[in-house]
Each structure stands twice: as C-alpha cells, then as structure tokens.
C-alpha cells in the first residue's frame, strides 16, 4: 500500500444509481468504487495513470429521500447535427422539451460523508519521464488547496462533492455515532470495464466496522 492517498468527501445529497434501476433512479446505499474513482479523476488524472480504490469508509448513517423532476426523454442525434452542418444553419435543430417530457423520481442519499482510500498504477500509456512521486505530489497539492479540473460530484453533477485531503499520519474524521458499522450491502457495481466494450463488473460489498474493502479489479471476487 505504498503511494496511497486518503480523501475525505462529503455533501448534502448523492445519487449512485443502481444499474438495474435507472429509469426511476434508486441510489446504492453507499458510494461505488466507480464513483469514487470519478471524484479522484476530477482532481487529477492523466492517461498514464489509473486510480484504484482500495477502501471506502462510511462516516454517516445511510438515509434516503425521494425527489421527482421533469426530464427529457431523448438524446441529441448526431445524424440531425450532420444534416444541419451541411445545410449551414441551426434552424430546426432543437428539441422541444414539451414533446418529450418525462417525470422521473429519484431515490437519493442524504447527508453523506466518506473517506476514499486509493492508490494509482501506471497504464500502458506511460511515458519515459513519468514518476510515481510526480503524480502523487500533483494530486496531494491539488487536493490540499481545493483545486480541481472540474467540480467533483456525488454520482450526478447536481450534487457537488466537497473534499479535503487527509494528510499522512492525520486521523480519520469522526464518524457519526449512529452510522451503520456492519451491513451486507449485496452485489454492487465495482466499475465498468472499458476494455471489454463497457461491461459492468460487480462485487459483494460488505460494510465491516464502517469500512468497505474493495477487492482488486482482477480478483475472482469481481465478476461481470
């Protein structure tokens, strides 16, 4: 566990959507390793490195809330854009929200706080002048100052994540006395395998003493 980092993240609301419930979104009980990786990448990432989440500490009780919003059911069509580009005008290239209205409820988490423990590995894209220390320094410097590439979020962009770096030797933040310390969270998304045509891979998430041990990506505990 050399070159590890610990990041404290928290926010008012969060939605780590379960893939089996995406229409009327329902959040997982806790942050997924995939979302945690996204937060780290929002602070520092290069194609030369890959963040690996080792452990997730859950600091607050797991609580849900429901919210319903108007959404649009369709996506922007590249075919229509090409046509408009050829015609050289944006006329007609708009989506009318009212024709495509969907009201969807989301069951989201309230008042969350986690500690993400992670490290990184080099990928095949690593250049000759890359060093572990360099990326570690960049990440720590940015996290310490509150710098980021884009604002990190808790699952979806409307729920911003606040973060602060936990320095080496610094104790973890106080956990809420009523937090769930032991719980079987069932099968949870680990991450999406982009090399295998976006295959999601899952693992059995167990909350023990307030901590989820995230098995390594290549281990037998993680299956598609």
């Amino acid at each position: 566990m050399s070159y590890g980092i610990r990041l404290h993240v928290w926010g008012d609301r969060a939605c780590f959507t379960r893939p089996e419930m995406k229409v009327e979104r329902v959040s997982y009980d806790v942050i997924t390793p995939s979302a945690a990786r996204g937060i780290l990448e929002a602070i520092h990432w290069k194609p030369a490195i890959r963040w690996i989440v080792d452990r997730i500490h859950v600091l607050k009780p797991i609580r849900f809330e429901s919210i319903r919003r108007n959404e649009v059911g369709s996506k922007l069509s590249p075919g229509n854009v090409s046509k408009a580009m050829k015609a050289g005008t944006t006329a007609g290239l708009v989506a009318y929200v009212d024709n495509d209205r969907q009201q969807r409820a989301a069951t989201i988490l309230r008042d969350v706080a986690y500690v993400i423990e992670a490290h990184f590995e080099f990928t095949d894209a690593v250049g000759p002048d890359e060093s572990v220390g360099k990326h570690l320094d960049i990440f720590n410097r940015r996290a310490r100052k509150g710098q980021y590439f884009h604002a990190p979020c808790l699952g979806v962009r409307e729920f911003p994540a606040h973060f602060s770096l936990i320095e080496d030797g610094q104790p973890l933040p106080e956990a809420h006395p009523e937090r769930d310390a032991d719980k079987d969270l069932g099968w949870m998304l680990h991450d999406i395998d982009f090399t295998q045509d976006m295959t999601p891979r899952f693992f059995r998430a167990q909350l023990k003493g307030g901590v989820i041990e995230v098995p390594p990506w290549q281990s037998t505990e993680v299956s598609a």
């Binding site: 008012d12 609301r13 809330e65 429901s66 919210i67 319903r68 919003r69 108007n70 959404e71 649009v72 996506k75 922007l76 069509s77 590249p78 075919g79 229509n80 854009v81 090409s82 046509k83 408009a84 580009m85 944006t90 006329a91 007609g92 290239l93 708009v94 989506a95 009318y96 929200v97 009212d98 009201q103 409820a105 309230r110 940015r142 100052k145 509150g146 710098q147 980021y148 590439f149 884009h150 604002a151 979020c153 962009r157 409307e158 729920f159 911003p160 606040h162 973060f163 602060s164 976006m198």
Partner: protein, 293 residues
C-alpha cells in the same frame, strides 16, 4: 472565441413572495420541501430552464446563441417547419466511429448552441466523444429557513363543459387550488470549471451572459404560479488559476445569511428581514470576491 481562464464559484440568492418557485410533481404541485428540515427546494434543472429562456429572449437566436432545449412558449414557426421537415430517424444510434467526424459534430454543436456549450449535452450512447460535459454546474437551491406552504382555494366563474353547467343548473363555478409560499429566501451554489470550458469554448462573453441571465431571469419568468420572484444577490468568487486556489466549501462558508436584529422571533416576510455577510477578509490567497448584484 477564447475560453475562460479562471475557475469560478458563485452563491446565488433569490426570493419568492406569495408564489410557488418550483412545484413538486410528487405532491400535487406543492412547492418542493425537504422532508427532514421543511426547507424549500428548487431543483438545478428548474434554474437552468430559466437561464435558457433568458438567453433565448436576450439573444433572439443570434448565431452562436441558439438554445437546443426549447420550450414551446418560445416557439418560432419557421423553426417548427424546418424541424418537422428534418425529422428523420438516423439509422446509427452511435456517433460515427471516425473520431475526427465525431469531434467536428461536437464542436459544431458547442459553437452554435449556448446551452450545449454551457451545460453540456448527451449526444449519443456509449462513446465518450459525443458527450459534452459543460463547464457550468448548479446544485439544488435550498431556502435559508423552513418555509410554510399555504393552499389557497380559488373560484372560477365559468365551467369547461356543457355537462358541468347542467349539473350546477347554471351556477357555473369551478373551484381551483393554488399553492404558495408567503415568503422564502433561497440559496443556490454554482461552479464554473475553466478546464471544461476549454473543451466547449465557453468564453468570457458567455460568462457575462450567464451572470446577466442569473440577475435578470426572473424578470422574464412572470406567471400566475410564480408570484413575485427576484434575484437578490449574486456573489462570484474568481480564482486566479484555472484549477482554482481554494476549496469551494471554504468560499461558500464565507457567505453567511442571518436574520436582522429584532426580526428573529417572527417569520421572515421580506428580504429586509435577512442580512447577508460576505467575509471578504476570510478570502484565501488568490481568490477575489465580487458582488454582481
């Protein structure tokens, strides 16, 4: 258009008097409430809709400022005709495999549509090149204090159908319901990432337009349901660097909103009942704070 080079955060305060700022479809259009605290909520998408509508009015579809996600209310008939003429189902659900072409499509959308450039858009399934992540991110707005929704019954001196008229033997009345908040002051937080702006070409002019939209959007969003809504404060934090110079939560914490002296023991009914303090001395190095409103 050169992209912005600074990171920004902003605190946006707006209030509502005798109106419903954002109805909850789950609760019969009652103003949205946070069930735990009874504070009011306004969703991020509600505010974004108003920004889009303001830009539509302000720029009148000038080149580069078209709005992709249109509301029917601002329908332009010529657009409508072209839209129907062009409504052809593309056969390929994914962006072209050819990355250069995919990039060209994305770039063209960003160049022509303000909302795609600002908030981003999903253009496809699967391939990342077709997803535009916009630089501007808004969080839910919550009210400073718990709000009290009132249900007002109203009558209409007319009926919709003959059948109703007969049933009432010519009395012709219908009852309706209206939900209002007597008063609520809401606080929203927003983020502007310079690094994502580089990718969509979100420029300083666009940023200025965004501030104008936030300041003026309620002036063009009057309706029977909204009551009196007004933008009260727009406090912008500008970082010297693109990555930022301080954590966002530290900056937000520097904006404190309290009740004015002598009003604490009664419910707030106007903006004068609140005092907004921006602790300019608490600003970390490299961050400047401006009150645009």
């Amino acid at each position: 258009m050169t992209a912005i080079t600074h990171r920004y955060e902003f605190v946006y305060l707006f209030d509502v008097t005798n109106g419903n700022p954002n109805g909850d479809p789950d609760a019969g259009n009652l103003p949205r409430l946070d069930p735990e605290t009874n504070c009011g909520l306004v969703t991020d998408v509600s505010l974004k809709r108003k920004i889009r509508n303001y830009v539509t009015l302000d720029k009148d579809s000038a080149p580069g400022f078209a709005i992709y996600m249109q509301e029917k209310a601002v329908l332009n008939n010529q657009h409508k005709r072209a839209y129907e003429a062009l409504e052809i189902k593309p056969e390929d659900k994914k962006l072209p495999k050819d990355e250069a072409k995919a990039r060209a499509i994305t770039a063209w959308m960003c160049a022509n549509f303000f909302d795609v450039r600002t908030f981003g858009a999903v253009m496809t399934t699967g391939i990342n090149a077709g997803q535009v992540r916009g630089p501007v991110q808004l969080a839910f707005a919550t009210s400073i204090e718990p709000v009290l929704p009132l249900e007002i019954a109203i009558t209409r001196m007319a009926v919709t159908t003959e059948k109703e008229a007969e049933a009432q033997s010519g009395d012709n009345r219908t009852m309706g319901r209206k939900h209002i908040l007597p008063y609520g002051l809401y606080r929203a937080h927003g983020f502007v990432s310079a690094k994502l702006a580089e990718r969509t070409g979100f420029s300083d002019d666009d940023l200025q337009l965004l501030w104008n939209a936030l300041i003026n959007m309620f002036e063009h969003d009057r309706s029977a349901a909204r009551g009196e809504m007004a933008a009260r404060k727009l406090i912008v934090f500008e970082h010297e660097s693109a990555m930022g110079n301080a954590p966002a939560h530290v900056l937000f914490d520097a904006v404190k909103i309290q009740r004015t002296e002598g009003t604490q023991d009664r419910p707030a009914r106007s903006f004068a009942d609140y005092r907004v303090n921006v602790d300019a001395k608490a600003m970390p190095k490299g961050v400047s704070v401006r009150e645009l409103l």
